[in-house]
């Protein structure tokens, strides 16, 4: 299903910028429309920042994916942080524990085609998102 992927650690503000740039490169390669490129890069920026701020750092993997109909881009954000105790609450617009606007998680979910969270208190969080070419 996948043909190429790249991983980068997320341990600083600078790494969040690197994630944005890497996702942009992949988005251009799979020929996402300009609006969809903007959406996936924005979603990646939100989630990479969450990995850094809430997860205490982690790793991001960007993969070019292909199903029988179309190409796309899959991004996995993984951290070994505290995990999310109340997922439903965390996905609510405006809910934040970090002093932000509470739009990172809920907003990022709206910007992508597929969104999956695997989290458990004390066991870290892994979020997978996919954006397909139209």
């Amino acid at each position: 299903m996948s043909d190429e992927s790249q991983r980068i650690p997320v341990d600083s503000d600078r790494d969040v910028v690197r994630v944005r740039q890497l996702v942009r490169t992949f988005a251009v390669t799979v020929k996402l429309s300009l609006v969809d490129q903007t959406k996936i890069v924005t979603a990646a920026s939100e989630l990479a920042r969450n990995t850094l701020v809430y997860g205490g750092g982690g790793e991001v993997e960007v993969t070019r994916v292909q199903n029988d109909r179309r190409a796309g881009i899959r991004i996995v954000f993984a951290d070994q942080g505290p995990g999310i105790a109340d997922l439903e609450l965390a996905l609510t617009d405006g809910y934040t524990t970090g002093g932000g606007m509470g739009l990172g998680l809920s907003g990022a979910r709206r910007l992508v085609d597929e969104f999956d969270i695997d989290t458990e208190p004390g066991k870290g969080t892994t979020i997978t998102i996919v954006k397909w070419c139209r």
């Binding site: 503000d13 600078r14 903007t38 890069v41 924005t42 939100e46 932000g100 606007m101 739009l103 907003g107």
Partner: protein, 138 residues
């Protein structure tokens, strides 16, 4: 750390963001602008984001904070040059930037701030003697 330059032109502070900002750079810009508004006594701030290919919630919040802080310091902020794809994404993200004035480009942004006197910015016309307003009744 990189820094976004703040230029003073007449009664306006002009900021053109040309780099993919780290969060710390955005926060530094917020501090620099507040400082500069006070030291220069300017009443308008224009932030050109036409070079930004995304605005996420952090940058959006920083822009909103800059606008609020400026207002408290007696300066109006106009954000100009947002790309269409950025606008679409911001709204879908859930950020409609309430409280932020926007214009399509720097020129329109300056015009928007024009309720204050910026005549010193435009030297192509002699504005020292404004034309007398003539009111005629038909």
């Amino acid at each position: 750390m990189e820094r976004v330059p703040v230029l003073k032109i007449g009664d306006i502070l002009l900021v053109s963001i040309q780099i993919d900002m780290e969060d710390q750079v955005a926060l530094q810009l917020q501090d620099d602008l507040a400082e500069k508004i006070v030291t220069t006594g300017t009443h308008g701030v224009i932030i050109d984001i036409s070079a930004l290919d995304i605005v996420d919630s952090f940058v959006g919040r920083t822009l909103a904070n800059i606008a609020s802080v400026s207002r408290v310091l007696d300066a109006e902020t106009v954000v100009v040059g947002m790309r269409p794809a950025v606008a679409i994404t911001l709204v879908e993200l859930g950020l409609s930037l309430p409280g932020i004035r926007t214009a399509l480009n720097v020129e329109l942004g300056i015009a928007m701030l024009g309720t204050r006197d910026h005549s010193d910015l435009f030297d192509d016309e002699d504005e020292d003697e404004p034309d007398p307003v003539v009111v005629t009744t038909p």
